[in-house]
Amino acid sequence: TTTRQRPRVLLKAPTLAEMEEMNISEEEESP
């Protein structure tokens, strides 16, 4: 087993619902 050399950076994620909202606004913006 390899040990981690350094701590990884936690990537904050939006929730599924938030992601959907982002997606909708992107779609709305596009012509």
């Binding site: 087993t1 990537l11 904050k12 599924l16 982002m22």
Partner: protein, 394 residues
Amino acid sequence: RPVNIPRKEKDFQGMLEYKKDDELKLIKNLILELKPRGVAVNLIPGLPAYILFMCVRHADYLNDDQKVRSLLTSTINGIKKVLKKRSDDFEAVSFWLSNTCRFLHCLKQYSGEEGFMKHNTPRQNEHCLTNFDLAEYRQVLSDLAIQIYQQLVRVLENILQPMIVSGMLEHETIQGVSGVKPTGLRKRTSSIADEGTYTLDSIIRQHNTFYSIMCQHGMDPELMKQVVKQMFYIIGAVTLNNLLLRKDMCSWSKGMQIRYNVSQLEEWLRDKNLMNSGAKETLEPLIQAAQLLQVKKKTDEDAEAICSMCNALTTAQIVKVLNLYTPVNEFEERVSVSFIRTIQMRLRDRNDSPQLLMDAKHIFPVTFPFNPSSLALETIQIPSSLNLGFLTRV
């Protein structure tokens, strides 16, 4: 002219390099426009998930958090989009449920967290993510998988729904038990009526179709068990609910037919090695209702036997079946009012719900047990049919 020098697999690190500008093309070709029935049928199960994960690995290797975030968001939104478009297509939903779970398993297997690395080969351990912890994205993917699972259940429910009453209750496969002699005339009439009606065979055939599609997509065996359990629950609930509403379904011979049908469904489970899925147990209320149609219903001893036998039925359901029970020949008789009172008295301490009908729309909570893969990422090749020539094996 550039010469292609084939590299040995050991030279690859199990990553796929892509340009940021090609992300849209990746999602379009691999998710939005991929046809599970056409191209995907010959792919190794879970290939789209492995490809996406190998792209994530490369973005992680570059330490480019924006690229990782963007790919994960586009992937999730792409899957949602394709499932919105093909919302009632069992194959598409099963395909993306399997791939979403595989992607989730990859994010765990290569997360670098020891709990998920127990079954990894040393080479697989070298392929763990180096820069980013994607635990929050795993949660989002798990939520997405739950949504897709629920969609899959609704799709299979819509397909099965028209078959259930006809196949489980109305259609008679056991000749001569209905009390109506199969005379020539009767036979001719029923054979005409049979055309276009669903039988138990239709239900079994549909089960086989669902099962082979899920196998083809490499769905996790534990997940497949949950789908089958849910499928059996729907069949049991819809059948029982109709029996509870139809006098013509409450006879000794219907009890016999139902028990035969249930035994065939059980046989199917045995054949597919799914007896430990909990599917059979969901049929218990229906099995007991069928038994109730067949047992003697006269003496105090009969009442006692019924009360201890029917522990998966509510008092309301037991009483309803007894009230509806209809003799179809001279050897049977109606259940007396006093017998039904005796049953009610005996069951009054049960305090069970007054509910008559089962909730046929109920969905059991789903889980996605971690299922690491032995596949070596560095050996994965991308078929040209996927139109992903812009990805470079690294």
